[in-house]
Amino acid sequence: MIAAVLVEHRDGVVAQPSLEALTLARSVGVPVAVWLGASPSAEAVALLGQYGATDVRVVDAELRVVAHAADALRAASDDAELVLVVSTFVNKEIVTRMALATGAGVVVDAAGAERIDGHIETTQTVFAATWNVRTRINTERAIVAIRPNTTTAKVADERTAPTVTTLAVALPTAREAIVDIARVAPPEGIPLAEAPVVVSGGRGTGGDYTLVRDLADLLGGAVGASRDATDEGWISHEHMVGQTGTTVTPALYVACGISGAVHHRGGMQASGTIVAVNMDPDAPIFDIADFGVVGSLFDVLPQAIERIKAHRAAS
């Protein structure tokens, strides 16, 4: 059984969630990598091979129009029973189009997938991570959009140099035309959705992200924010965590000066360990915190940073 993985890459560099998806694909079937865009470098191909890809199928074209990307992915995963993509907004659109063309069933925001009695079954959390759900895909072909940080990426025991095939796909005329692309600079460090640690600051920072950033750097994590903070223009929109921002599931989430509105919680509640620092003992964020400090982040964070540094220096 072939399990195709749509590889996420930026400027030719493979994103970590794709290695997680390949690891998952290996546990279900024979992994094949699908690469949309300018041909991958030898390093990228070798990396995909390390994570078990037997084939790398390339459709060499810039495919920002969703209808085009959907057709390209479909052509490159024709023989696959399972197609795995990383759960991003654009990928959800691509797979929706593909599913309508192929009859495949789709689960998005999944945390895992396995093959049971000939069907793909997925696990996911819903309702702001308050419920666990198991879903069976009834159709012969299945598409699963998998959340970053839900599978641990592991290199394959058996590795072969993958065969690279370039496919020519006749793209339909789309109704939509992309008339302008204004690039956003890539995030410094780890992208929010992929980070093992996220330290977020909200309105309580008053716009000063120095301490939040320092703690994030110290812990090897990414900086997150609440909607109020991005609305204030304190930090760019890419940092927003929540139901209308980025959903994150890091091993550690630290919320500083964030009240814990349901919209925010929906985007971080499935995190491994949750720590909150807030002046208000009644802030709803404390309801889901493993460790909470009622206090000012301007007192608590510097002390915590010092302690961690001292601990590291001593050990």
Binding site: W131, A289, V300
Partner: protein
């Protein structure tokens, strides 16, 4: 300008949401129109107001309670409300729901052509964000999704969408399906006059037969995915809340070190 807004009835975000036999438990008192659909209604009203004339249709697909979603849209200023309600729809997946919505939209469109269908970027219960794309494909209309800005002129709609790597400006001919984010606008509050007027406005109710959809093609039996198990996640164990009296930063650090996280 004729605009149709698709609005979904969802359980209250703050309520104890749950599952029964793989389907979301519906509690009449405990739901309302999906919050992001207020942005969709607002976008439609603004377009019609800017043109000086036109109609806004609000359409929902759902059980008896779902009428609350279109009533809310009427209060905000929608001209007409349509509720597709048929027992056979229960348990539909995204594709079944999109097929039903598309059939109802075709029926409205047959009376007089629509320019746009506007939706929210996500329903805050299912949260798949797949429906707008599915609807565009079903209708064969342009897909302009995830819009934080929308402009319509000369038979064309143009949106800006904010993706992780870029701001894209996308243009397409009408008719189009547009999904909007909460950045697109600031929804208005219903005023007293509109609330009163909405009370007497009729809601058109259609069954699957009215819109020519075969009941066997939708609902749980036709769904491509089935929830086979649902269980509440256990609350977090061993929770600690401390009040800072001068040492809480150290305590926080020790907690992280203890868990191997720092």
């Amino acid at each position: 300008m004729r605009v149709l807004v698709a609005v979904k009835f969802v359980p209250d975000l703050q309520s104890q949401r749950s599952f029964t036999d793989g389907l979301v438990t519906r509690v009449a008192e405990d739901g309302s129109m999906n919050e992001l659909d207020e942005n969709a209604v607002e976008a439609a009203l603004q377009l019609v107001e800017a043109q000086g004339d036109g109609e806004v249709y609000a359409l929902t697909v759902g059980g008896p309670d779902a009428v609350a979603a279109v009533r809310k849209a009427l209060q905000l200023g929608a001209t007409y409300a349509i509720h597709v309600n048929d027992g056979a729809i229960a348990g539909s997946d995204v594709f079944g729901t999109a097929a039903v919505l598309a059939a109802a939209i075709r029926k409205v469109n047959a009376e007089a052509p629509l320019d746009l269908v506007i939706t929210g970027m996500a329903a805050l219960d299912g949260l798949t964000s797949m429906l707008p794309t599915a609807l565009a494909v079903e209708l064969g209309w342009s897909q302009l999704t995830f819009a934080s800005k929308l402009e319509v002129a000369a038979g064309e709609a143009t949106i800006v969408r904010h993706l992780p790597d870029a701001y894209e400006t996308v243009a397409a001919p009408l008719p189009a399906v547009v999904s909007v984010t909460d950045e697109a606008n600031k929804p208005r509050y219903p005023n007293f006059k509109l609330i009163m007027a909405a009370r007497t406005k009729p809601v058109t109710v259609w069954t699957l037969a009215d819109i020519g959809v075969d009941p066997a093609s939708v609902g749980a039996a036709a769904s491509r995915t089935t929830v086979i198990d649902a269980s509440p996640r256990p609350p977090r164990a061993d929770r600690t809340i401390v009040t800072d009296t001068g040492e809480a930063g150290t305590a926080l650090a020790d907690f992280l070190i203890g868990r191997g996280l720092a």
